[in-house]
Symmetry: C2
């Protein structure tokens, strides 16, 4: 398969990490959002959402949405439990991440790292919701090693992607020791640094 | 099961419609977000995300996130195909709805209908993205009756929930005949008005 993505994007790294962890062969097609490479007619003909990451399988089928892609790739593997309810608890995290975490933690990072805003220039409402998202993760990690079961799943992959970059968005993990240890556990499981 | 939700919320209606369509018995626990009923200690002890909709099954297990709940309830039914890739294409819509549609179309509706803003007082960036989301649906419906296959699936349920209320957020469906016909098809399939 071909993975269209940008390695500066946590959403894209989710797909890379999942494929790497499962030993799935792929070609990485570096696609620069900031340069508009997801808005060309050729890209939109293939992926009408105009977003990365997106995957094109060898038979021409395509799939978009980071958490949907990793869910599809992880079927039947150690990264997604077989049980229906256990999968639903993973899905709970996947949807929470896209609605209650990414628009705040990742977007603040984008504003600071790529649009040149200072920490104080971040939007207050986004900062507040980002802090709340990080507090929620810290709370949920109390007494457990991973988010959705005894071992790493795609719930961890989805949530850790931008959480481990939270400092680049002006968020402080110093007072969140549960998150810091969990990030290390995820990095060790995924063999990333 | 008990469904905690508010009938004014499209996210909550997704769960109601899915349960009704599949004939699943439930008790509806009316839960008023605006009055803070999702932020009480008792509610947070059960549903730490502090959101509706949320479901409590008879054995005490709980599940949150509208699209995760409907995905779980629809397993093995006509509302979710069995094939893994077909499910992934449904997931593509579920994640797209929560990231690229709800924060714009539903939030503009909330601002106008519940916070008393006028159409002109809506946030311009939200309006722009909401219009783009509606254009995308209209484009994707060209030549097809439903979003993710020949019949209604939870992809339609998730996306139609706030699309059919788009006018309450100041969005105009008059020039989007594909959406208008699809809303009618969804309403007929779900036997709602």
């Amino acid at each position: 398969m071909k993975i269209y993505g940008d390695v500066i994007s946590g959403n894209c790294l989710k797909v890379k990490w999942t494929a790497d962890a499962l030993g799935l062969p792929y070609t990485w097609v570096q696609t620069d959002v900031v340069k508009g490479e997801t808005r060309t007619p050729a890209y939109l003909a293939k992926f009408p959402q105009g977003q990365v990451p997106a995957v094109e399988f060898d038979d021409g089928r395509t799939l978009a949405q980071s958490n949907g892609i990793v869910r599809y790739l992880a079927r039947g593997s150690r990264l997604l439990p077989d049980d229906g309810f256990a999968q639903a608890k993973v899905d709970e995290w996947l949807f929470w991440e896209q609605y209650s975490h990414e628009p705040y933690v990742a977007v603040c990072r984008f504003h600071m790292k790529y649009l040149g805003k200072s920490k104080d220039e971040r939007e207050a409402w986004r900062v507040e919701r980002g802090e709340k998202a990080l507090d929620f993760i810290e709370q949920q990690l109390a007494g457990r090693d991973f988010l959705a079961g005894p071992a790493l799943t795609i719930a961890d992959i989805a949530v850790v992607a931008y959480t481990r970059m939270a400092d680049e968005g002006g968020f402080d993990l110093a007072e969140r020791p549960g998150i810091r240890k969990w990030i290390t556990r995820c990095e060790e499981s995924l063999r990333i640094q």
